[in-house]
Symmetry: C2
Subunit: 165 residues, 2 copies
DNA sequence: TATTGTTATACTCTATAACTATA
DNA sequence: TATAGTTATAGAGTATAACAATA
């Protein structure tokens, strides 16, 4: 018999629960702010923000999906909404006829701009008010390896399914 | 004019993005594990875990809702599912005829027990593998004030809506 | 044959408002 | 009148599988 029952110690359990609760509350607040300020869901905001930051304001569907959405059809759905709202355009990729290149429109950039200040404000108020600059640095240093670890680790949990998409 | 445009510095932005991504990936993995191991959603697991930990295995709807769900009807829906699955029972509260007391059944406790080891394993592997015990302590110390702050702060964002429920 | 993306479909979850019953 | 909970209903989002087109 090996140690078939891995245990969380009290500290680990506390960290896990606090992490989930904190992000849950933050996400809920941010969702509301984005909805009220710009009629955007969080996923839609993430997609727009990525496009806004990428060179030319464009990206292929597949690259856009990365990390934002867990299924291909989910992205098609969201991109369809954004297109219908006039915030992005979709066109066949020049180099690969199979691909679709999504591009943020001027209206899309405006929308991101309209929403960002309130977004920052919510985050500052809820997350960073009780943290010193040093705390933030420390937190960054702790989260970075976790993020890297999660990105590097294929889900390999029970059954090994496909990565995402 | 006051500083109407609060800014996130680079560290803060990094912490925020890392936090959201990390919890997103973790939640997704945990969701899958709970579904596969016990056919439970995360919300359902949270509700069962609370009942399992509370004295007598019971709680009132209102108290159960706290922090798990954002609307009353959402809880009614989830409690209905759990009841249909035989994992909880619902009965009028003895002291307050308006209230409903939810109680976990033996089957409910078994289900929690069946799901917990795998749950712990996912968390250990994804979240704590890259963190030392000291790191975990530090993280706990940073998250605690944030959690307290968020709990204490009414959403008071744009419009002041009701707290939750 | 493998990859990109869309569509159809079905399902889960959530929230709002109207309603009932008890305090 | 206020609180506890349910119901009806409608909407947003997600995932799976089948499909078309290109590499």
């Amino acid at each position: 018999m090996d140690d078939s029952t891995p245990r969380l110690d009290a500290t680990q359990l506390g960290v896990y629960l606090a992490l989930v609760e904190v992000v849950d509350l933050l996400r809920h607040a941010v969702d509301q702010q984005l909805r009220e300020a710009g009629d955007l869901s969080y996923v839609q905001f993430q997609l727009l923000a990525r496009l806004n930051a990428s060179p030319g304001g464009s990206a292929r569907m597949t690259d856009l999906a990365d990390g934002v959405v867990y299924s291909r059809s989910g992205l098609t759905y969201q991109a369809g909404l954004l297109e219908k709202a006039g915030l992005v355009t979709r066109a066949p990729s020049p180099d690969d006829e199979r691909g679709v290149t999504v591009t943020i429109t001027d209206a899309g950039r405006e929308r991101v701009g309209a929403v960002l200040p309130g977004h920052a404000e919510v985050i500052l108020r809820m997350l960073f008010e009780p943290l010193s600059p040093t705390d933030a640095e420390t937190l960054a240093g702790l989260l970075e390896p976790v993020r890297a670890h999660m990105r590097a680790t294929p889900p390999r949990s029970a059954a090994t399914r496909r990565r995402r998409r």
